[in-house]
């Protein structure tokens, strides 16, 4: 049976066995959307350059409950991020949250299964915001994650609380004994005047085919602060669609950095909905690509309310036959006067066979706003290279120093120290800087 047919059958089973009426409705809506839209092909405007549909020719397993008995503590150690002893750790194995391997250190955090959250104290929030990303991502991939939501979690950061320990999220796909489609799902609610720092990573174990199709929705309340880092350095044969959908429902500040260093096809959706006055958002991205890797960053900043500020900078370095995509949408709604929205995408192509498609897309319906966008595609600065060489620095070292310097204005925005040091080291290793 093909993966697509299998999905439909498993969905029917899932609806029968689960007794979570609130979520069942959303899942049902999602499967209708999935059936209507299907897996996006390059004919879909938002997937023009990213061929995700061929991946679904593979027969995938997609666990809808805890069936993985292989994953052990040593495996966890192999995927942990530096500084984990001081962090809350949330572990997804094949898309299913594992309470056994997760560690909650902070009393400020409430971590529940989505199904449980949909019933109790947080029922209102779940009902209102679970599946919010579907309002912006009209494709079968997003619908697929929602339709098959099974092992997802709800995380609440209590009002007025600062989580001193960051939250590390490990999205593990265990492809040691087969081909796996994993679909981690989470809904975060950052309460009023609360603060949280999140760092996520994606790891595939084994050599089977894999696709990690993750959706994370984050609601940020008034006076709250969210820092979010996505570190993508999975193996060269792995695929990933990763959605971070942030809705700022009160005046708040968010800071998001996406670092992509490896993977076969990596598609990121970063959505920021500025749904309150005086919201502020900082979005940064760095993609450092080699081989045949394809990295696609789609960002949306939707200015729903007036007086919001957003700044976005994405930089790419593409070598070999790598291909990149940047699509940056900025919407300014008619009532969102005094919007300040800035966007920039810069690329360096190191090889004649590397390519990038970059497209800013601004839809401005208010008349008193400041918006700017810019994109560049160029080569390594030859003048700079000669300058360094003329000081005795070998050409390869000079190139590495220049590329590292180019990446630094993204890296300096990683404010979580162990993660900053970790990414610095990965990049130095990649550039072969001692």
């Amino acid at each position: 049976m093909s993966t697509i047919e299998n999905i439909k059958e498993r969905f029917a089973d899932l609806q029968k066995t689960r007794e979570d009426a609130a979520l069942a409705m959303v899942r049902n809506k999602a499967i209708v959307a999935f059936n209507q839209w299907g897996i996006p092909t390059v004919k879909h405007e938002e997937w023009k350059y990213t061929r995700i549909s061929a991946i679904f020719n593979t027969d995938f397993d997609f666990p809808l409950s805890h069936t993985n008995t292989f994953f052990n503590a040593a495996d966890l150690d192999s995927v942990r991020l530096p500084g984990y002893k001081d962090a809350n750790e949330l572990v997804f194995i094949d898309g299913i949250f594992s309470s056994r391997f997760s560690v909650i250190r902070s009393g400020e955090l409430v971590v529940l299964s989505l199904a449980a959250a949909a019933e109790g104290e947080f029922a209102g929030i779940v009902a209102k915001y679970f599946g919010d990303s579907a309002n912006y991502l009209k494709d079968g991939i997003n619908a697929l994650n929602t339709a098959l939501e099974a092992g997802g979690i709800f995380v609440h950061v209590k009002n007025g609380q600062v989580t001193e320990h960051p939250v590390y999220i490990y999205n593990v796909t265990d492809a040691r004994s087969g081909n796996v489609l994993s679909q981690p799902r989470s809904l975060f609610h950052v309460g009023e005047n609360a603060q949280i720092k999140i760092a996520e990573t994606y790891v595939t174990l084994g050599t089977g085919e894999s696709l990690s199709n993750q959706v994370m929705e984050i609601i940020v309340e008034k006076d709250a602060y969210l820092e979010h880092y996505k570190i993508q350095n999975d193996a060269s044969h792995t695929n990933q669609v990763s959605t971070t959908h942030i809705r700022q429902v009160g005046k708040s500040l968010i800071h998001n950095v996406v670092i992509t260093l490896n993977g076969n096809i990596v598609r990121n959706n970063i959505n920021v909905i500025m749904d309150a006055e005086r919201c502020e958002a900082h979005l940064y991205g760095l993609y450092l690509q080699k081989g045949k890797s394809h990295v696609d960053n789609h960002t949306i900043v939707d200015n729903v309310k007036p007086n919001c500020y957003s700044n976005e900078l994405y930089k790419g370095i593409l070598d070999d036959e790598a291909s990149g995509v940047f699509n940056g949408k900025i919407f300014v709604r008619p009532q969102a006067q005094k919007t300040n929205a800035y966007q920039s995408n810069k690329n360096i192509l190191l090889s004649a066979n590397a390519s990038v498609n970059t497209k800013p897309q601004l839809e401005i319906l208010a008349d008193d706003v400041k918006c700017s966008h810019g994109c560049t595609v160029g080569r390594l600065n030859e003048e700079g290279l000669f300058y360094l060489q003329s000081r005795g620095i070998r050409e390869e070292t000079a190139r590495a120093l220049l590329l590292n310097a180019y990446a630094i204005d993204i890296l300096e925005h990683i404010k979580l120290e162990p993660i900053h040091a970790f990414v610095d080291r990965l990049i130095s290793e990649r550039l072969e800087l001692a």
Partner: protein, 254 residues
């Protein structure tokens, strides 16, 4: 030390140098002057190994070796230094990190081990004082947002750190006020020994009030058309380059 013989060079098919002959011995200071477009900066660039320029004829011998065979970084290792007319700004690369890499790469080339942190800092401190450069500048990104004077001082500081045998100063005085010229020239003078040499490329005589040349050469239309003692620079300043041009056209007619 440096022996240039019948050097011809071109860029994108355009002939710029048309037979340069020049010899520099240890301890000497040579000045190359000339009007705009005469090939002064091209000569400096060709010596430093800028690859856009193609040498079509002639030889350059440096310390007994064929300089033109070397990559730019090997030339630096061999002891050649070019102070850029327009030093490049590199955001994100700290000046200290850059200097440290350069010093250790050059040491490696010369068969010396890397400097440890203590000795490196000692050396930096000493050379910073010598070239009157502010420590705050060195903790910033390389040349980023530096004033013209700060960039040139940084060039001389790098020269001090790399201890070249031959320093080529490409229009080091351009865009500098008199105080900045004095500081830069002082730095160069303090670094002079009987074993190293300076080749100063300049449009104006002003720099040569502070870096006193042993020989002045006039470059015109890709050739050295006149050489003389330091007084030649003063004469050029007074009479302008036209008198050279006139002399040449008279000679051509005769």
């Amino acid at each position: 030390m440096l022996r240039i013989h019948n050097l011809h060079a071109e860029i994108e098919g355009k002939k710029i140098l048309k037979g340069i002959n020049l010899e520099i011995k240890p301890g000497e200071v040579h000045a190359i002057m000339g009007p705009n477009g005469s090939g002064k900066s091209t000569l400096a660039s060709v010596l430093a190994g800028r690859k856009e320029y193609e040498v079509t004829e002639g030889t350059v011998e440096f310390m007994g070796k064929d300089l033109l065979e070397f990559s730019p970084e090997a030339r630096a290792g061999e002891g050649l230094f070019l102070a850029f007319q327009y030093p490049i700004e590199i955001p994100g690369l700290s000046t200290i990190n850059f200097i440290k890499t350069a010093v250790n790469e050059v040491r490696k080339y010369r068969g010396e081990g890397p400097l440890d942190a203590v000795r490196f800092l000692q050396m930096m401190k000493e050379k910073m004082a010598l070239t009157e450069i502010d420590k705050a500048l060195l903790s910033r990104s390389l040349n980023e947002g530096f004033s013209g004077g700060e960039k040139k001082r940084n060039e001389i500081f790098q020269m001090a750190m790399l201890q070249p045998k031959l320093a080529i100063l490409d229009e080091t005085d351009s865009g500098l006020d008199i105080d900045a010229i004095r500081i830069v020239a002082n730095g160069v003078n303090k670094l002079r020994t009987k074993d190293n040499a300076v080749l100063a490329v300049t449009h104006y005589q002003r720099l040569l009030d502070y870096i006193i040349p042993d020989f002045v050469h006039v470059l015109y239309n890709g050739r050295i058309v006149k050489s003389g003692p330091k007084e030649l620079a003063l004469e050029l300043e007074e009479r302008g380059y036209d008198f050279i041009k006139n002399e040449i056209s008279e000679a051509a007619e005769a």
